[in-house]
């Protein structure tokens, strides 16, 4: 286990540094003078100079990179161009909304996929199996920037069952969570169904059946428990994807999380804030992937990754 941990850590650290460096490079790719792009052509020379100094653009690139890493290590993500609060503070205030939405999307995905995949595996080749696969195919093909408005038209505008947008009670959460979670549930149905079908054929399931264990117990104790391993991995990996997908879902439903904050920062050309948001989402994604690796090894000691 120690060797495994060290091996994954050796892969994780350069990946994290790579992702962080990529975000650092991004802001330097702005064509022309980045300060002029942020403040506009009409800004005074003094204002431009002040911003250049505050962003550290007057220093050599290597020094800027060093300062960026040092500040990041101490949790300083810089200052927004338009808001008095620091970027870190703004993101912290929006983080709970995004986490709440992502968690609810995961729950929605689980609630949809678990019964559907289980029924599909039990009735393999039957109409429910075909319906589950069709659902999966449709779920993967429905982009969330269309699904969101579609759900809004039907459930908020036509039926009036849910609020159109914003954050509030549980009813505010339903449509954004389904919009964000449907793609994940489509993937989960596929993976879980395949996993269940694989486990059903295993010797220990045949043995349990041969010794006369009730079918319900076989499914609960042997099949579902073992098939859930793949679900843990997929869910952890998809959680990072949910954070990225929140940019669109939060924009559609005016959900006050990091996704919407990023889009608003892009629209106002508040690049330090854009950089901070992208950084937080990217780091979360890399850390979650790393945690998934470790979690998988803990759950299933057979995982070796060639060590």
């Amino acid at each position: 286990m120690k060797r495994f941990l060290l091996q994954r850590l050796l892969l994780f650290l350069p990946t994290l540094l790579g992702a962080v460096s990529l975000v650092f490079v991004l802001i330097h790719l702005i064509p022309g003078d980045p300060v002029e792009v942020m403040l506009g052509e009409t800004a005074s020379a003094a204002d431009k100079e002040a911003l250049r100094r505050s962003l550290g653009f007057d220093r050599p690139l290597a020094a800027q990179y060093r300062a960026f890493l040092v500040n990041l290590a101490s949790g300083d993500l810089g200052r927004s161009l338009y808001e008095p609060a620091g970027v870190g503070e703004i993101i912290r205030s929006r983080l709970p909304a995004t986490l709440q939405l992502a968690l609810c999307a995961m729950i929605a995905a689980l609630v949809i996929s678990f019964p559907l995949a289980t029924l599909a595996a039990i009735r393999r080749g039957g109409w429910i199996d075909r319906a589950a696969l069709t659902f999966s195919l449709l779920g993967l093909s429905l982009p969330n920037f269309w699904l969101g408005p579609l759900l809004m038209i039907v459930f908020s505008i036509e039926l009036g069952w849910t609020p159109v947008s914003g954050r509030g009670g549980f009813d505010h959460l339903v449509l954004p969570a389904i919009t964000l979670g449907l793609g994940m549930s489509a993937i989960l149905v596929r993976i879980l169904r395949a996993s269940l079908l694989q486990v059903i054929d295993q010797d220990y399931v045949q043995t349990a059946r041969a010794k006369g264990l009730p079918e319900k117990q076989i499914w609960l104790k042997h099949v579902l428990r073992n098939a859930s391993l793949s679900v843990v991995t997929i869910m952890s990996l998809q959680f990072g994807g949910l954070l990225a997908g929140s940019l669109i879902t939060e924009t559609i439903f005016s959900w006050p999380g990091i996704g919407r904050l990023t889009v608003q920062a892009i629209q106002t050309r508040d690049y330090p804030l854009v950089q901070g948001c992208v950084l937080v989402i990217a780091i979360s994604y890399v850390v979650i992937n790393f945690a998934t690796d470790l979690l998988y090894k803990l759950i299933d000691p057979r995982v070796s990754y060639g060590d």
Binding site: L11, P14, T15, L16, G18, A19, L22, V23, L26, I27, L29, I30, P31, R130, L137, L138, L140, S141, L142, P143, F145, W146, P149, L150, M152, I153, I157, G240, G241, L243, A244, G245, L247, I248, T251, I252, T262, V263, I266, Q267, Y271, V274, V278, I281, A282, Y285, V286, N289
Partner: protein, 268 residues
């Protein structure tokens, strides 16, 4: 039988959607940019079967023309990503050693980044435009192909026909080009089908956020973004471009799925 029906329906839908986009200038009843403020936000009429948008532009014409952008971005992204992935994956898989380590770590780093987020960040920095969208989507898009090609080459390298070519003194370029590449084509084509669907959705996402094609050029994503502001009064603005996009992605996924199943059943 059901799978066959799905497959041929997918192929038929793709042919129809591609033909509709390619021949949009001939099929579209109006210029997609022509404004008519007297006929704004119309639902259905004989003149405008799918209605008009806030500037009185014909939705049918804009949906047909919007498909050109989606397909153009999708095909260009897949072609570029596949070429880069093919070169890097071949080098990595065939030569191995430090080059393989270096290239695969680069792939690991890029794959550790959420693709859509990087594309959004890059287009936000570079500014909207088709070339920026394609560049942003290729930046991570090639990594999947590189990994696939490397894996396939690693397994093919040990096969007798490659060993024989090696023993006969064939140069690496000839072995890769004549012996390995033809065997790589089926899995690559399947990956490209899924890649095309993903690129079309990604372009739609970027255009939806106002980071894709620049207005007034129509694209399915930007039409959805425009229509979002009029959901209460004109929901049809989002219906048709969304339906066209979903059908294209669905058809690509169906075709990709079926081809993948066929390849899997043939692989010993």
């Amino acid at each position: 039988m059901a799978t066959k029906l799905w497959f041929y329906s997918g192929i038929a839908a793709l042919i129809l959607l591609t033909a509709g986009s390619l021949f949009a200038p001939l099929l579209a009843p109006y210029d997609p940019l022509r404004q008519n403020l007297e006929q704004d936000l119309m639902r259905y009429s004989n003149d405008h079967p799918l209605g008009t948008d806030k500037l009185g532009r014909d939705i049918l014409s804009r949906t047909l023309h919007g498909g050109r952008i989606s397909l153009l971005v999708g095909i260009a992204t897949v072609a570029l990503s596949l070429s880069i992935g093919l070169i890097i994956g071949s080098l990595s898989g065939y030569f191995g050693g430090w080059l393989d380590h270096l290239l695969m770590r680069l792939v690991d780093i890029l794959m550790a980044f959420p693709g859509l987020l990087l594309a959004i960040a890059l287009t936000a920095v570079l500014g909207p435009g088709l070339d920026h969208v394609i560049l942003a989507l290729c930046l991570i898009g090639w990594t999947g192909y590189a990994r696939l090609v490397r894996g396939e080459i690693l397994s093919l390298r040990a096969r007798d026909f490659v060993q024989a070519a090696h023993a006969l003194g064939c140069r690496p370029r000839r072995i890769i080009g004549r012996h390995l590449l033809p065997n790589l084509l089926p899995p690559l084509m399947i990956q490209a089908t899924f890649g095309l669907a993903a690129a079309i959705v990604a372009e739609g996402s970027l255009s939806f956020l106002g980071l894709g094609v620049e207005p007034p050029t129509p694209s399915w994503g930007s039409m959805l973004n425009d229509g979002r502001q009029f959901l209460l009064v004109a929901p049809h603005l989002t219906t048709y471009p969304g339906l066209a996009l979903m059908l294209t992605v669905l058809a690509l996924n169906v075709v990709g799925d079926t081809l993948q199943d066929r390849l899997r059943s043939r692989t010993p």
